[in-house]
Symmetry: D2
Subunit: 336 residues, 4 copies
């Protein structure tokens, strides 16, 4: 049984506490930390009576009964928790992003490499989604040749007024940035953003929709339509066009309904419905991998690559040019 401490008891943190406590096997939440006591109390209540409550994440990290930590604080707070946990030698599940700057990501990578132990898994849950894995398996089958293009959409029914133009990259396209990189096994080298006609539902600080264009080392062209006020649903699509065939990821399955001169099928409205199983499966895999002493999911290095790709896209939003994506270092041997 893996004893987990959860740092950050907001909505996402509590959702992980519930997951570990009630839906996955092999782990239990033994401690929670949150600067806001009311949230910590709520989190602990899900985990059960034996769960300890900390105000300071450092105390939780260094609790000898805690084998592993979940970092579910706001992004800017990740770097300190990560460095502390690496220093304590604790296994880490860190929600995305790794850190909010490329520099901080590099600090974390440096610390992990120096520790000599693979400790960090990043919370890019899509890698555990059944649909993406079906596509990846087909790509690996060798029946379709090399991937040449990937067409994606990331459509949300709507977003709040605090959601602004750069968040189309950092909160939304970030998922395609990681999962497509993983899907085709190739790194991005340049980024461009197109600004189509604005929807009437755009907010003042939000240009919606946008089309993100990414190119990989091997020349694979990825286009990602990010449309966060599409109104009709949470609609994630991904088609990989290869030399010998094209593969389109399926949606979740819903009944076909005949009514009112149409056959209709539901689209979910919500990423937590669409990726419900992926969230469970990523945590279960992380727990199972802990028993084997490995990190099977996205690493700190993947988090760094996602960060610099996002940086390039945000820059491209401003310059409207093709922006290069250049890691500050070669991929460390440690992550190969």
């Amino acid at each position: 049984m893996l004893n987990v401490g959860v740092i950050g008891c907001g909505g996402m943190g509590r959702s992980h506490i519930d997951r570990i406590t009630n839906r996955t096997t092999g782990a239990q939440v033994v401690a929670v930390a949150d600067m806001v006591d009311a949230l910590a109390q709520k989190g602990a209540a899900i985990a059960g009576e034996a769960c300890k409550i900390y105000k300071d994440e450092k105390d939780l990290i260094n609790d000898p009964n805690v084998d592993a930590v979940f970092i579910v604080t706001p992004g800017f707070a990740h770097v300190n928790a990560l460095l502390e946990a690496i220093a304590a030698g604790k296994r880490i599940f860190c929600e995305k992003p790794l850190c909010t700057t490329a520099e901080d990501c590099l600090k974390v990578i440096d610390a992990e490499v120096k520790s000599g132990k693979h400790l960090i898994q990043l919370g890019f849950m899509r890698r555990y989604d059944k649909g993406y894995n079906q596509v990846k398996d087909l790509l690996k089958s060798g029946n379709y040749g090399e991937p040449l293009m990937v067409h994606c959409t990331h459509r949300n029914p709507e977003v709040g007024t605090n959601y602004d133009t750069p968040m189309a990259v950092t909160d939304t396209a970030i998922h395609e940035i990681d999962v497509i990189h993983w899907l085709v096994g190739d790194d991005f080298v340049s980024a461009q953003v197109l600004f189509p006609r604005k929807t009437k539902y755009s907010h003042e600080k939000l240009y919606d929709p946008q089309i993100m264009l990414l190119r990989t080392k091997n020349g694979i062209c990825v286009d990602d339509e990010v449309f966060v006020n599409c109104k009709f649903g949470y609609d994630i699509n991904c088609e990989v066009v290869c030399e010998d065939g094209a593969i389109k990821m399926p949606h979740l399955s819903y009944p076909d309904i005949r009514k009112a001169a149409h056959v209709a099928t539901e689209i979910e409205n919500d990423c937590f419905v669409r990726f419900h199983d992926a969230y469970d499966d990523e945590v279960q895999a992380w727990v199972d991998d802990a028993a084997k002493g490995i990190i099977g999911g996205p690493t700190a290095w993947d988090g760094y690559l996602a960060a610099i790709t996002a940086d390039a896209l945000v820059k491209a939003q401003e310059t409207r040019q093709i922006e290069p994506i250049e890691p500050a270092m070669e991929k460390p041997e440690f992550y190969k």
Copy 2:
């Protein structure tokens, strides 16, 4: 140019006049007949100035300028027009049914056989529908083995209050009776009707829906859901299950629309939309076949088989037993 006379200028008759005049090539309507003068006038107006108007169908049939006749009168009136036209040696396109009794069908067959000329094509337009033909081509490809079962639906959004229980056979299932017989190339030997729970939209004289069960000589089992107040659309389905695969006829194609948390595709509401091209294509084929001196579509014998199959189903509606279907004679050599 084939000179056509059209007998019966109701809605269906006028639709054929329009078709011959404006949408198909190689034929023209040179004469029309209808006991109701106003209808005859309407029909002639579509065909153009040169079109003659007859009150009596006999005069039209025997007009030497008329090469071929369309019989689009009510079913009970077909037998006389058919016999007259056979006697006159005119080519005939007869809307379904051939005749309203098996006896009359046999009289017509007898007359055509004795005439020594293939004159009659029956208006079962589905044999010219692209979808059924795609299925038939696949069946003939030999890739799927023998057909074992056929699952059909014949759903209408709604019917008028004059539509009664036997009409579910004679007006509706009659289309599957002919087209499935043609599709699998096999004759029916028995019939049964199931009466599911009635829809609240059933009229007093109408039991709706019904499931028609037919068996062929080779044992192919056909089920046909006839549901004429299904409300949602005109929904024709046909799946042929074979030894080595199953083949499902497509619908007409419509865009996929994403809206309101659903992906939806239209179903037409109307058989004249669904089978628009089939109606045109059956008449064009009949005109083209005339030039070759052949009848390529459903014959008087097919009309007789449809009639006795319908009779058995109507009887089965009353007896709720499995009723045999037994032609009064072997298929004449003439029709082989």
Copy 3:
């Protein structure tokens, strides 16, 4: 933590041991029993070191450390284990069928009712399948009126030579018998079987395919195409046609693949793939229900209804008549 004893360590039993041990939460396998020692050893090995091994199921049932039992023995052996477990007041998960005769089912029902406690859940996993539940939720929404007809297929790629004609009912259609009864909330009153043309892949003792026809008290007509050598896949379909719309259960989702002039989507070959999640979810629900002291899934009474429905279908296979389905008693108040 619910302490479970598993009786029967064949393939299905071991699959449940694995499920309880590794995939569901809240229960553990503390004991196994099998007359074949090697199987018992195998089963125990999955559960872990602390798992006790019994030769005699009675000893397992009466082990005070065992809170609940799984009965996964051959069907004929169920009755004794059920009666013993009821006598011991243990909660029971019994794989289908409840018993192999209606008489034995009644004995078990009598015992459970007299015990005054709801103890038995029957292993009809389809009630926990996401697709069937989506359909049921739509039916319950009230948007589609009353269900009138249900069209099902139960197609297997192939079966072994020991699979014979009655097994098309008792091993295959038995799943639709229970799940459709549950889906529409109505009891069956009559049964008929159609024998279409035989596939060339039928074995000597197997007539394949068959079409099972069932009617409910309210007149809902169910047709179930059972085709166990269809060759192309494990293809479960279910369409419920209602007064105000028709609802078709989806398949599991797989990518659309464009290759060789076709767009193709996989169909699984195997019921354990198709119902993988349903198997897990039924056991998880049973464990969760245990904590609440209820039986939320199919009961002994459902098992009895399935048994007499299967009996009527097997009789109908012989008589080729419509056979009545008449329970020997009213549904006991206990099960309402």
Copy 4:
């Protein structure tokens, strides 16, 4: 009856002669011209005995029995035939492109405007395709708000070795250039081309695939994947993403085939199958419009816009920059 003269009796020319003679109504081919006598003979043979044969297109154009001309010569030869036919006041159906240079297009426009009569329809047959028209009707319904993005694919199974990189624009994307312009009712203002990883099936002079990016005056962003050695089929897709919904054009309909653990549906291999009906319908509409004295299809102005858009894309292939699209003049009042 419209008397048509056909200039150019290659494959496409003969296909139009066959169409006018055998599949559409209201027109007949009374004359053909081709510099290669054997081709002219072949063309005339399709049209029938009364068809005159000319060596020089000028003689055909000025034949007083010719009401209208089809120009189906190679693109570079269009300008002279167009100017001659305008001078003769003959109605014109001109296969794409209008001319091979923007300058020649402007000459033709000037001549037509000065003639004061609408004479020229350009052969962009997709505007007559049922699928595009279904999408356009939905856009016009007002239910979906303004169009913001259009995602297209133009995939061919393969091309010959004479097909080179610029032809991806001038022979292939040219169809999307016209039809999307028409579909959204907006002019293009800039063009960009992306070069993804090359398929192994690229020829030496062909970079395949390419992604064409176009932007309209109103900011609609169009992406068009041009992949002419995709191997799997002729796969035309078009999705219009609007403010209040997204609309995806359907494919032609083919049966669903269950076999070998897949459900598969055919994709055609050939544009003449995919757009078979569109070719017939554009010619029929042109004939019908002639009777009304109007040009209902794409005009010379549309041909000019397509030419300058293609020029910008070809330039963008070289510069890899975003290239502006700037007509040399305002749209003449004549074409509004």
